[in-house]
């Protein structure tokens, strides 16, 4: 294929969904379901096909394809910010995930949201999200990346609040937007700092110049990496900005699958992988990344153990899986992190969508304690969900196994991670298998605890996308070699982690851990599993409640930030500066009042005033004369 066609195809990637967005939003409700679904899914098909075609053109000889569209603005004579796309191995993986998984989720959504009154608006937002996400991963400079970054944030906001009548959804959308905006601001400051120190914002130039300018341990890359990390933790829902993700489940389920599991939340991982040139110069920050990942992994694992809402379990599990990716990046195992990003996109999309199908069948029931016994009633969904859970637990053979193993294998010997973080990862894996089993037992085994009749959807579109995702989840591991080969030139600067003097039991422990978890749950959660007359209720002890609410971070931020800000706003609603300036007006009107009240037309007041004033004058006169005489005498 000629080069110009490849470039054109690359440039057109985000255009198809954009055109679809414009069409859908302009004609809105005048479009029938068939037309709207065809347009939006068709645009995704075009996007996915052309991205596969473009990726085919990447090879050892052509490691990078760029498409320059137009000049955005000029920062200095040497640095121009362009609207340009840059495709390398890393971006290739990302566009595959975004358009491929995006297509499957679009197909699912077309069936899932069919009855919704605002179907076209929903599909339009989904298309717009794909546009922004593609811009994010294809941007050749950080400002364009920031455009995509904010764009996906806006779409996430719109889709969380899609059912805007409910106050809770509106508040969840607001929270998601503002919390991520905090991270985005850190990232923006990072960009200012990069431009000041390096004078460039084009991504490859920044990575190269950073290596040329600084040595490991300099303070500039430390601060820049820390600020970029701020952006990454916001978008990827890691500590300390993780609180928005569970609430974001208020959005329709396809949204949770596409945005809050497969693509957008991994943007932080992508950012760090993209800017690895800077991060490699700041090993302390790499360690922070690893620790944040590990802590989030554990925290989310514990929180997932106590959730009652099926989607919130999955949300916490997403958070914890992204924790693995962060851990991997922090350890310097960039390719492994990106690999896990991809397999996670497969199986988490599958889990969310299957959960959506189950929720639909149960008439929008999301509470795990109102499910149970679905194993026989929804066999297809159960199979699909189990495939997802197997991948999530990383049982040998599943795609999750390959990617998680790739991460865990490199932690022990990494200079920026180490044995302690390896243990965290193992404990995390144990937690993962326990909450997965709990989820499975509660939803699929035991008594049927719902009153309504089941209405499983028979839509072919729905089933097609689920099965396709299940296949991807199972065979996802085979992409490992292709992926590593295409990522190798991207992370060429990253030092290879040398595996030295590792205890021999490391691998066996890592592989055995999920089984230990399953065994433990088999007995510990026996009451959820066994059909019996005992009524199961959620654990309502204080500790369980504390974990269920995300370990108190929400209330901490409410008391520390939200309430003071609101109180300050309320206190000063009248604007203290205005009050001070209006004192002038108050003073003038005071004088006015005093003088007016003295002119009251009563003769006796005037006589008294004249008398008093004369007296006062005379007294003053006498006193000053006396003082004058005294002082004369004294001199």
């Amino acid at each position: 294929m000629s080069e110009s066609i490849t470039v054109t195809l690359l440039a057109l990637l985000p255009v198809y969904p954009l055109v679809s967005f414009v069409l859908l939003i302009s004609f809105a409700k005048r479009l029938s379901w068939h037309v709207a679904a065809t347009i939006s899914v068709g645009a995704m098909v075009l996007s996915a096909l052309s991205s596969f075609v473009v990726i085919e053109q990447l090879s050892v000889d052509v490691p990078v394809i760029t498409a320059h569209l137009w000049l955005w603005f000029t920062l200095s004579s040497s640095e121009q910010v362009n609207i340009s796309f840059y495709l390398d191995g890393l971006a290739a993986v990302m566009i595959c995930v975004v358009t491929g998984i995006g297509l499957l989720i679009h197909i699912f959504a077309a069936a899932y949201m069919r009855e919704d009154a605002n179907f076209t608006r929903f599909m339009a937002y989904m298309n717009l999200f794909i546009v922004a996400m593609l811009i994010l991963v294809l941007a050749d400079n950080l400002v364009l990346l920031y455009l995509g970054w904010e764009g996906v944030g806006l779409c996430s906001f719109l889709l969380i609040g899609f059912w805007y009548h409910e106050k809770a959804n509106v508040l969840a959308a607001r929270k998601a937007f503002i919390v991520t905006r905090v991270g985005d601001t850190a990232m923006a400051i990072g960009l200012f700092m990069i431009f000041k120190e390096i004078g460039q914002l084009t991504i490859i130039d920044v990575n190269e110049s950073a290596r040329a300018l600084w040595v490991v341990g300099d303070s500039q890359p430390y601060w820049i990496a820390l600020l970029l990390l701020g952006g990454a933790v916001g978008k990827s829902a890691q500590l300390p900005l993780q609180t928005w993700l569970p609430d974001a489940m208020a959005g329709p389920t396809p949204v949770s699958a596409l945005i809050h599991a497969a693509t957008m939340v991994t943007a932080g991982v992508y950012l760090i992988a993209r800017m690895h040139g800077i991060f490699l110069l700041a090993p302390e920050v790499m360690t922070y990344v690893a620790w944040l990942g590990a802590l989030t992994l554990l925290l989310a694992g514990v929180a997932a153990l106590t959730q009652t809402d099926i989607k919130r379990v999955l949300a916490y599990s997403t958070m914890s899986q992204i924790g693995y990716m962060m851990l991997s990046l922090g350890a310097g195992a960039f390719s492994a992190g990106v690999f896990h990003l991809m397999t996670h996109a497969f199986f988490k999309a599958l889990l969310f969508l299957t959960a959506g199908a189950i929720i639909l069948a149960l008439h929008h029931q999301q509470n795990l304690f109102k499910m149970g016994g679905l194993l026989k009633r929804l066999p297809l969904e159960t199979t699909l969900f189990s495939i997802g859970l197997v991948c999530l637990m990383a049982l040998p053979g599943s795609s999750g196994f390959f990617s998680k193993e790739a991460i865990i294998a490199q932690l022990f010997s990494s200079t920026t991670a180490g044995p302690l973080l390896w243990f965290c990862a193992i404990v995390g894996a144990l937690l993962t298998s326990i909450y997965s089993c709990r989820l499975f037992f509660l939803a699929f085994m035991g008594n049927a605890r719902f009153e309504t009749s089941l209405q499983p959807s028979s839509s072919k579109l729905l089933r097609f996308s689920l099965v396709a995702l299940a296949i991807l989840s199972i065979i996802g591991g085979v992409f490992e070699n292709v992926l590593m080969v295409s990522l190798a030139p991207v992370f060429i600067a990253a030092p290879v982690i040398e595996i030295l003097n590792e205890p021999t039991w490391l691998h066996s422990v890592a592989i055995a851990t999920p089984f230990v978890g399953i065994l433990f749950s088999w007995f510990y959660f026996a009451k959820y599993r066994v059909v019996s007359d005992v009524k199961i209720v959620e654990n309502s002890s204080g500790l369980a409640r504390f974990c269920r609410q995300g370990l108190g971070f929400d209330s901490l931020y409410t008391w520390l930030l939200v309430k003071p800000y609101c109180a300050l706003a309320k206190l000063n609603r009248k604007d203290i500066f205005d009050q001070l300036l209006m004192l002038n007006a108050w003073y003038v009107s005071l004088c006015h009042d005093v003088l007016t009240s003295s002119q009251n037309g009563k003769l006796r007041w005037y006589v008294a005033a004249i008398g008093l004033t004369t007296l006062l004058l005379l007294l003053t006169l006498l006193l000053t004369v006396n003082v004058g005489e005294v002082s004369m005498e004294a001199s």
């Binding site: 939003i25 809105a28 137009w70 000049l71 955005w72 603005f73 000029t74 920062l75 200095s76 609207i83 608006r121 400002v143 920031y146 455009l147 904010e150 764009g151 806006l154 719109l158 609040g161 805007y164 009548h165 106050k167 509106v170 959308a173 607001r174 937007f177 503002i178 905006r181 905090v182 985005d184 601001t185 923006a188 400051i189 960009l191 200012f192 700092m193 431009f195 000041k196 800000y565 300050l568 706003a569 309320k570 000063n572 609603r573 604007d575 500066f577 205005d578 001070l580 300036l581 209006m582």
Partner: protein
């Protein structure tokens, strides 16, 4: 290219509209719209015709005739790219103003359009006058009809707001008048001749001690107009009480006269004094950004919210200008345009909502998306512009301002960047409280069903504003291309002047 012609025809158009309303009811708006359209077309054509022959990178003198010989006061107009951009913005927004007034004004309609157009003529004069006495004259000319717009056609508390607006501007411009006279006197001392001509003043050799005080005289007048904290408080009242077109005009262009004054006079006439003063002014800018954003969040009145957000945005201009950095300067210019469009858009939106529910209170709003999805879509874009979403003009403006300012004041800029969070918060409040959630139960029942989606006229206003915001957002060179050489020269000139 005749700016005089533009101004005179605006005044005549105002007069004609007034007259036409007397002849036939409801004709004033058509007359005004048509004539302003013709004038704008004339302006654009005249500009294109002369573009090849004139170099607008420097001030290009258009007319210079004697006016008051006794004091050597002249009638002198000149334009450069800065003036051209601002005059274009003014003319564009005046069309928007007329369109948003269409059904809103029901009393003294003819006189209303006269005032509107007279005020616009005054603003154009301010952007082009290069004789300082003439500048001061136009400064007052734009003020009086504006006050009338608030006082006659405003909302419930209009007299208070009009008086407050008038007194704030008058007191501050008195300081400027003193500074202007002092500058003329200095010219007299140094050359033996009085002069109010701007370019004569540029050649003056001012001692720094004196320049500092004179600079302050100008600075305060422009800071009140901009407005900057702590002298901003006329703005929320004036904005809230003014009719929709008044708010659009106030936020869209009147505030820009303050920024224009800072660029043209404070920075150019007193480069050294401004450079000394810069850290203080930049701090004021940052305080404005944060304080404005915080106050905007606290408001329950939609128009007050937008007014405080304007204060926040103008803080970016102040910070960027006093960074003396070429990138920040471009950012400042672009902020003027972007904020002109986005605040005009938000005030138009407030007007459209007010015409439907007769309330500006956010507590009475909610769930409008249900009946008016198109309006909701536009509201979202306008709010997104206000919180600096990339892809819209405001983002490029703020980004350039902050990138430039960071080169000079890293710490201050970090604080300024916190304004991004603040703007997201008030942006969310603005959009979600009005369009999401449920319809408020407190609202009278008929108004719920009467909440119509955009009419054709409103659609025209909104789409014109959105398309400009998007086009500039993705192709800011539409504006910035004129400032690439000129501004670097200006900043260098300033720095060079300061170093000498």
């Amino acid at each position: 290219m005749s700016i005089t012609f533009v101004m005179c025809s605006l005044l005549i158009a105002g007069g004609l509209a007034w007259f036409a309303e007397g002849v036939k009811a409801n004709s004033a708006r058509y007359v005004a719209l048509l004539l302003v359209l013709i004038i704008s077309v004339y302006f654009v054509f005249a500009l294109i015709m002369t573009n090849s022959s004139a170099d607008y990178n420097q001030l290009h003198l258009l007319v210079r005739v004697a006016w008051i010989n006794r004091f050597n006061i002249e009638y002198a107009l000149a334009i450069d790219y800065l003036s051209i951009v601002l005059v274009s913005l003014t003319l564009f927004l005046s069309l928007i103003c007329i369109l948003v007034s269409w059904h809103e004004i029901k009393e003294k309609v003819g006189f209303y359009y006269f005032n509107l157009l007279a005020s616009i003529a005054g603003i154009i004069g301010v952007f082009t006058a290069v004789d300082m006495f003439l500048f001061f004259f136009f400064w007052e000319v734009m003020l009086l009809p504006m006050t009338a717009l608030i006082a006659i056609w405003g909302h419930e508390n209009k007299h208070f707001a009009a008086i407050k607006f008038f007194i704030f501007t008058q007191v501050s411009s008195l300081l400027m008048l003193v500074a202007i006279i002092a500058m003329a006197a200095v010219h007299f001392k140094q050359t033996g001749q009085l002069s109010f001509f701007y370019q004569d003043w540029l050649a003056l050799d001012l001692p720094l001690s004196l320049a500092q005080y004179l600079m302050l005289g100008f600075f305060i007048a422009f800071a009140v107009k901009l407005p900057s904290v702590p002298v901003h408080s006329w703005l929320p009242d004036a904005h809230t009480q003014a009719p929709t077109a008044g708010s659009v005009l106030l936020a869209g262009v009147l505030l820009k006269t303050g920024a224009y004054g800072l660029i043209r006079f404070v920075l150019q006439l007193f480069p050294e004094a401004s450079l000394n003063f810069a850290p203080f002014a930049a701090t004021l800018g940052v305080v404005s950004i944060l304080y404005g954003a915080k106050m905007a969040f606290a408001q329950q009145d939609l128009k007050r919210l937008v007014a405080y957000s304007s204060i926040s945005h103008m803080g970016f201009v102040m910070l960027a200008l006093f960074s003396f950095n070429a990138i920040a300067y471009q950012g400042a210019i672009l902020t003027l345009v972007a904020h002109g469009l986005s605040s005009a858009a938000l005030f138009s939106l407030a007007g459209m909502i007010y015409s439907r529910i007769h309330s500006r209170n956010l507590m009475n709003m909610g769930g409008f998306w249900q009946n008016a999805p198109r309006m909701g879509g536009f509201a979202l874009v306008f709010a997104a512009a206000a919180f600096g979403l990339p892809g819209l003009a405001n983002f490029v403006a703020e980004f350039l301002s902050l990138v430039g300012a960071y080169q000079v004041y890293p710490l201050l800029t970090i604080f300024a960047a916190l304004g991004l969070i603040g703007s997201a918060i008030y942006g969310m409040v603005l959009f979600q409280n009005s369009f999401q959630g449920r319809f408020q139960a407190s609202l009278p029942a008929p108004e719920k069903s009467l909440f119509k989606d955009l009419s054709t006229r409103e659609l025209l206003v909104c789409s014109a504003l959105v398309s400009l915001l998007v086009v500039i957002g993705f192709y800011p060179n539409l504006v910035l291309t004129f400032f690439q050489t000129a501004d670097i020269a200006l900043v260098n000139h300033n720095l060079a002047g300061a170093v000498q």
